[in-house]
Symmetry: C2
Subunit: 174 residues, 2 copies
DNA sequence: TATTTAAGTCAAGTATGCTGACGTATTATG
DNA sequence: CATAATACGTCAGCATACTTGACTTAAATA
């Protein structure tokens, strides 16, 4: 419409190459989650449990609503998984101090152990891939991934301090 | 064990950076599939239908067993989705000529239209991301994605002719 | 006090996967 | 040619991870 993109169409923007992008993401994600799924299955957990454990580990003290915003699932879907994890002592809930309606989420020792098992497998995949591909490739990977995701999701990849600000923003919280 | 990796641990192999890789993949995949899911929902289809339509479009005349190998699901799981797509005239089955047990799969016009709608949305995401990031970044993205996936999955990204050879390998097929 | 917010819950439903067991047509093999 | 193997389909049952909608409770806020 406004810009005739067909006139400036580098090789890597051909239909074929764009399909390759789609497929790279498909196969990478499928393989990336497979091993974790297998580990989880032993505990009778699924991928949903993994995601909860991962992000609670990442953001200790996260509220339920912030977790819902990250996962983009419904409260009811989270509820089943979360209450299971609390019941089986992987996650601990503490009443918020500044807002006592909140239930802040933390991993227990048991939860941290499982989180490490799952995360280290996936980190191992990235460690190997990053090492083989090199620093420049890693930066390219980062750029492309950020480019494909919704703009609203990119805020998760700003400076870590800023992210924590966003998640725990109670101004007078000493 | 054999190699003490902790001694050679460049900046981009720190725990934090490896976690960022995990999260880039998570958020990118989540956003990448969201719009398609919404389009599919109108037709009362799900992501499973999308995958079938995509790969049948990509490999016209693929056999059921080759499709199963790509998707890594069971025959029964595919069956439900596939028979629905055949019944509603998105996919056509033709008896194989060299092996009459095979049911070769093709998109119908209706199927091709839906495939295009779904694929072009995702291609648009990659087109924008590739354009912003540049050719070097695209190559880096490709390397890292290939590195994270299982070695067995990398064969899907060899020269396209070779892939077709693999899928339609009837040596004497004139 | 009235409203909003954070979190949890009940009920019902859908999509996608699984296992196991069979059936049928076709091809390959002893 | 009889038997085995292959490609595909299907029936039945089950589990998990999601969904929407309605409602409750407790706490914060206007």
């Amino acid at each position: 419409m406004a810009e005739p993109k067909t006139l400036v169409n580098p090789l890597f923007l051909r239909d074929e190459d764009l399909r390759q992008g789609i497929e790279l993401l498909f196969f990478a994600y499928r393989d990336f989650t497979a091993r974790g799924d297998a580990i989880l299955a032993k505990q009778h957990f699924g991928r949903a449990h993994h995601r909860v454990i991962y992000f609670v580990g990442r953001h200790a003290g996260i509220t339920v609503s912030d977790l819902l915003a990250i996962l983009r699932i419904t409260k009811q879907s989270l509820s089943r998984v979360l209450s299971q994890l609390v019941r089986e002592n992987y996650i601990e809930q503490r009443t918020g101090t500044s807002d006592r309606r909140q239930r802040l989420l933390y991993l227990t020792e048991k939860g941290r152990t499982l989180e490490q098992e799952l995360t280290s497998e996936q980190q191992g995949r990235f460690a190997a891939a990053y090492k083989d591909a090199g620093a420049i490739a890693v930066e390219g990977f980062r750029k492309v991934m950020l480019g494909t995701m919704d703009p609203s999701s990119r805020k998760h990849f700003q400076a870590p301090d800023k992210l924590n600000d966003k998640l725990n923003d109670k101004p007078g919280d000493k």
